[in-house]
Each structure stands twice: as structure tokens, then as C-alpha cells.
Amino acid sequence: MIDRRLIQNVDWLLLVLLLLNSLVGVLVIYSASHYLPGNFYMRQLFFIGISLMALLVLLLVDYQVLVDYAYYIYGFVMVVLAGMVVFNHLMKKGSWIRLRYFQVQPSELAKVALVLAMARLFAEYKRSTLTRGAALAGAGLAAVPFFLVALQPDLGTAVSLLSILAGALILAGLERKTIIAVALLVIGVGVAGWHFYLKDYQKDRLATVVFPDKDPRGSGYQVLQSKIAMGSGGVLGKGFKKGSQSQLKFLPARHTDFVFSVIGEEFGFVGAAVILIIYYAFLLRLFKSAGKARDRTGVYIVFMVGLMMAFQLIVNVAMVIGIFPVVGIPLPLLSYGGSSLLANYLGVSLVLNVKMRRFVNI
């Protein structure tokens, strides 16, 4: 059923870097939560196992087949998201679907669906620059999940979806003046959002990026505590399980969104830099796969997955070191959380899929 050549062409290095990042994550999650009930590091290991299996299973299917069904997958996920919006509206619940044993965040899976749909849309787009029609089509495709996720409300994940759209448009040849126009539009939307959409706590978060010390007990608290954790780590850090900021719970969301801060505190600047380097090696390897793709679809898939993960990494770390507002975006692969992990593994699976099938003739 699967060709031996395909296995030989699997990018093992990428897979190793993926698992390395994930296992560093488990280590840090252990340090940040071993004193809490719930065995988070064990559960994360379990998620990694599940996600790895999903990754391997997905490799069995040619990505072209997946792209063929992209709109159906996309449609299905949109229906689930819409259903959740309605359901939440009625039940006042969060953005989780509670299954028998685990909770699943469909908004994370929307990322994978959007990557596939976007690849399908741009597969036959062969112009060197982006036309307005194509841009609008792409924007429309992204807008539906964006609003459905934003309504949950999960602004962080919704914004991550836009990075996928941005990836597609850049690749399709977005002109510089269009980028500027979009930037202006984003600012406009931002201002409007500030007045009509953002909740007070979100406004506070934005405001405290600039002045985290102003209000040490309020929304600046998280950022300040995170910076204290990073800064107090120094060059080599306080040592594994010895970070007072995280062990004494001054740090918010230690094993989820602020996991990078734990690294900075316990392993110092060296630890933080090593993580960034490993991560960049992983991303570089991932982007390089684009050069090996056999077709346009493949390039799009690789690029969008790479940009999506890079975007989350940059936003998360920027937030942890206090140069970006606190939005609920986890550090991909390192933060605790099954849905995010699964979505990223599926994304990487698509990349591997593209790369290993580069010599296969259609």
C-alpha cells in the first residue's frame, strides 16, 4: 500500500526536531506543574503519542487526495464551529467540546482545514502577482473560521488563522502597496475593534504592554511576573524545578501560554537561546521543504504550515518577554494542550507528506 521509496523519503530530521521540541516541552511542563494535581506532563506525553500516530496515519494518504477533499473537510469544520457558536450562545460555555475523556478545541483543527482549503484555492493560481479576485476569495475563505472562532471567543486562535491567509497571499504575489493597504486596514480594524469589540480586559492587556509596572496587581501583573521570571534567570538560570517565580506560582499560565518564561527562569538566557535555535532549525528545515515540493499545492501547504507555526512562536515569545499584548496563543509544541499539539502535528504531517511524495508521478 505504501511504497518503500516513500519511507526512505520521509524527512527524519524534521521529525526528530519536532519530537525534540515536544519532549523539551514535557520537561518544562513537568517542572511547572509537578506540584499540581492532574499529571499534566503525563497527559502531554499521551497527547504526543496520539498526535504522532495521527501524523503517521495521515502520511498514508497522498496530500493531493486530501486537497481534493479540502472543501468538504473545511465545510465540516465550519459547521462544527458554527454549531459551537450557537451552542455556546445557548449554554454560555467556552470554546471546548467535551468528549468522553478529553476536551477538543475545534478551532485548533480549523487551522489544518484552512491550510488544505487555501492550498486547494491557490493550487491552480499561476500568476506572478496577486489579483484582487484571488485575494478576496482567499480572504473570504479565512474570514468564515476567523469570525466563528472569534465569536467563541478565542481571539488568539482567530488571529493565528489570519497568518495562514497571509502566508497564502504572500506566496501568491502580494504587492508591496497591497501589503501597505492591508496594514492600514488592519490598523483601521484595530481602532474600530478597540472601540466596539475588545473587552476591557483585552484593552488593559494592550495598554500594559507599554507600561507593565503601572498596575502591578492588574493586567500588567502577568507580563511583569513573566519578565521577572525571565530576568531573574540570568545567564544559566536557577535550575530545573528551582525557579521561584514558577514554583511559587507567581507566573501565570506556567505550563500553558507562559511556558517559555519557565525556560528562561530555570535555564537562563542560554536555555532560552537554545530553544529559539532548535526551534528555528526546525522551522528552517520545514521551510526548506518548500523547495522540494513537486507542485504548487505542496509549496503552499509547506509555506502556510511553516508561517502558521512561526507566527505563533513569535507572538507567544513576544508576549512572554513583554513586547506584545497578552493574547491566548500557546507556544506551539512546547505549551501544554492536546488540541494545539494535534493541529501542529497534522500540519507537520502535511509537510512531510509533501516532501516524501516529491518524486511520485501523478
Binding site: 504575489g173 525571565m230 538566557f269 532560552a272 521551510f287
Partner: protein, 601 residues
Amino acid sequence: MEKDRVYEDLSLIQRRATVVAASIGIILLLIGLVCWKIQILDHGKYWALSEANRFRESVIAAPRGLIKDRNEVILADYTPSFRASIIRENCRDLDVSIENIARLLAIAPAELRLRIEKYASLPAFQPIVVKDNLDLREVSRIESRRLEFPELIVENDPRRFYPFGSLAAHVIGYLQEVNPEELKGGTFKGKMLGDLVGRTGVEREYETQLTGVNGRLTEIVDSQGRPRGQAARVEPAAGGDLGLTLDFDIQKKASELLEGREGAIIVMDPRNGDVLALASYPTYDPNKFITRFTPQEWMDLMSRPDHPLENRVIRGQYSPGSIFKLTMAAGGLKFGAIAESTTFYCPGFGQFYGRPFACWKAGGHGALNLTGAIQNSCNVYFYNVGRRLGVDRIAEAAESLGLGEEKTGIDLPGEKGGIIPSEAWSQSERKSPWYPGETISVAIGQGPVLVTPVQVAVHTAILANRGKRVVPRLLQAGGLREGPAGAAAGEDSRPGAIPAGIYETVVNGMWRCVNEGGTGKGADVDGFDVCGKTGSTQIIGRETAERLGRKIMPHSWFTGFAPRDNPRVVVTVLVEFGGMGGATAAPLAREIFALYKEKYD
């Protein structure tokens, strides 16, 4: 021109991918630089902040020293308790905090606000006590809301407790919160906001000795403020205990005797000035206001017309009445105005300076010598002595017998002196000459003569000691006391002191007063040789009282000592509006003498 061309190869979009990947690398590098700044350049600052996060300093309050009687009965103890304080610098919005705290601790918001405003001038990091004597439910209510109320802290607060309530309240005194002016003025060294300090009594007098040194506790806490371990602990040093000269049983008896009256009793050892009992009535329960708040009870006490907070023993100024006849007798003998055998005839009144002066006994006493006059407290006899002496020599005698402006030096704050008139006094205080007729009133302790009960006790001790003056003291010898100006007991070495022989005569009169059916017979205790003198002082003239149509009772005095030879105890009793001294005060003194004899003989 390129626009419409279609490339089949992927190099263009692949190049775009490479550019983006490179840009991501640059962004990550910038992020790495920010990490460098935070983690390496600013490391010191953040390290200090993380240490400050970890540790919480708190004060372990030192318990106040105990106050005990001479037999180690604890009169002032302490019990553990907790208090809640607000730290204003941790408030997000003071008004909101006040509302929330008022609700949490069930205090009236207006009262809480008033309290916080009272201390507004102090630095915002200093905790202001908002409620004390918390019960355990309140403590856990606060502890469980650390996050909601970062501005509220609970502190250990060993609380003063007086096991016998109002017993000896005027000796012990009471505590109140130190006020901001005192803190700034440095009245109390080492005190902090919210600390209680002695306001009166030995609590005030020995404040420094009773105050311990607070300890410090440095705890490692988590972000919820929950302790996770101790980093350092400096144990508090408890304040020094005070051993008082009081005798619990006698003090208790004195309190019981005064119950329901207004008056004062002081019991003293004439040999060394040890005060065995000091009671003032009405009294109060100091337990009721060991709080940082001004409770209604205290306001009520302040405004009551019978002044329960006033220590009558050291601050009540009264006419001595017939007690002053002892001074007249000693003075008369000293200045040779009379001899022991000098006899006057009492027809019930006497004519002096063109005015009749009555004796208390309507029919008169007939002919009396000096000891007989003391025994029966004959006014007419002493009118004559007074006329012969003149006011200035009376004053000289009184002052050498412990009366007058000079205070006794008892170790209690707020003691008042008395007044013994003289011609110079009249000129300087009244701006008018002294009239010889006034001397006749002074001779029986009326007119502008004022003494305090403690002065009368010292006066009696001088007589009992045949001239040796003592300073009354509440702190036992060998206690903490450094010694004030006059210090411990000592002979009166002032010039013009009365020769010892004269005392024997006066003491003889006092003995007859009690033991031979005199006015003081009510104080007689079998086999104890009590010597004493009664006094009854008219507050207003008999005519005025009759005009008002009211029966105005005089203040009732008795002062005495026992036994006659080698006296061991002095008892002075004053009952305001008590009636005749012999009828009211003397029997009270008898009870004390009897108890003393029973206990110490």
C-alpha cells in the same frame, strides 16, 4: 508585462518562501536580543524583584510583661489574638477597598473611612489596624481571600487581659492605641502604628519596662500569599514583668468595701511605703476597651458625672476635715503653743474674732486636754490651738507632715498635690490678705485646705513612724524600677522636723480615739492597737444645705495605722458624701485592719 505570463516552474514562489523564512530568522534574532537585555543586562533588577516576591516580612508582636501582686497573683495577663490591617499602597482603589473590607469584616463603612483618614498622614506602606480581636472565622475569611484583598493582612496580636476586671483598675491603668502625633513626636520609643500603650496607672508609668521587643518573621510565600516555608525568624522578647506591692486579698477587700460608694482606700506599709491596696470608686473594667477603637463604653465613662476613670486616691483633692487636727496637735506642741497637758473648755462653740464657731457636738465636750481633744475630735480645742499658732506655723507643720503642694511621689502618673494656705499663698493665689478668722476654719481642716488620700496616707505613715517619711511605691523593691527623684523610703531630714517625743503624744490621742470610745471607735480591732483619726468635711455650709432643703452628707474620712508600736500598716479611707467619719469610714478601715491582722499576724 510579466503580469500575464504563466510560469510552470515553482522557483518564484519557492524564493518567496525562502525570503519569509529568512525574515522569521531575523525576527527571532531580535527576540533573542530582547531576552539578552532582560536576562543579562537587567538581571540584577529582576533578581531583586523575584526575591522580593518570594519573601514576606512580618512582625511577631512581643507580649507585654505581666503585672503581678506581691504574692505572684497575675493582675494583668495576655491572651493570643489576631488583628486585621489595611496596607494602603496595595489598594487599587481605596474607596472600593473600604467598601469591600467593611462588608467582609462587618464594620460600618463610615467608621472605617474615618479611621483610615485619621492616619492619612502616615506613609502608605504602614498597616492601619481596621479590626482587632478577630475571631477564627474572620481570620479564615480573610486568609481565604488573599487574592481579592492584597491590601488586607492578618497579624498576631497578643492581647492584654485583666483576669479580675475592674479590680485595681486605677493602679494598673488601661491601654489605648498610640496616636499619630505621639508617633511623630517620639513619645513612645519603638512603637508602631496600631500598638497599644499604657494610658494611666502602672501600665503608663512602666510602659518602657513592660514593652517587649518585637520579633520578625521572614516567610517564603507563593503568589497567593500562602506561606511555603520560613526563611528567618527572630523571636520576640517579651516585656519585663512587674511585681507590684499590692496584696490581692486586701485590694479585693478594699474594692468590695467601696462597692456602691464613691471614694478611695489606700493601704500602705509605713516602714517602706509598699502600697498594699489602692482602690478608687466608681471604677471601670479595663478589658472593655483594650481595643484600637473608641467604644461606646469608654465614651460613656468619660461623660459620667461621677468620673469613674479618675483615680481619687492620687487625684482627688478633698478638705481633710478633722484629720487636720493631728497636724494642729503636732504643730501646737512643736511651736510651744500648747503642752500635752494644756486644757481648753468646750461649751459647744467658741467666739473668735467676733464670730461664733460651732463644735460638732452641740452640748460641748467640757474641759479637755490634748489627747482627749484628739480622741473626741473637739473643734473648740483646736480653734484655740489655731488662734495661738497662726496660719503660717500651721502650714509649716502640715508640710513637714506630708501635706501641701508637694506630691508624695507615688509611682503613678498624674498625681496631684494639695493646698495648705499661708499668708504668702493668699497673696499670690488669691491676691488678697489672709484673714485671721480663716485660721479658725483651717484649724479644723476646713477653709481652703485640700489634701489627696495618698497624702493623708503618707501623713499617717509619718506619724506612725514617729517622723520618718516614706515614698509610697507600687513596684516591689528589687523590681524593675530605676528610682525617681525622691526614691525609696528615708528619714525626713528637713530642718524644723518635729521632735520625736511630740509624735508619742499625738499617737496617744489617736490610740484613745479608737480604743477609748472616741470618734474612731468603729475601727477598733481586738488586740491590734489601731490608732486613727476620723474626719467629716462639709461640702457646703449647714445653712446652705438647710436652705436647699436637702440633706447633704459630708465626706467621710478615716486614717490610721496599727499596731501602735512598730506599726506595719496604714489605712486611709475616704467616702464621698459618706456621712460622719466615725460612722462610715472607720468601720471600713476596721475591716481592712482585721483582714491584715488575720493574714499577717
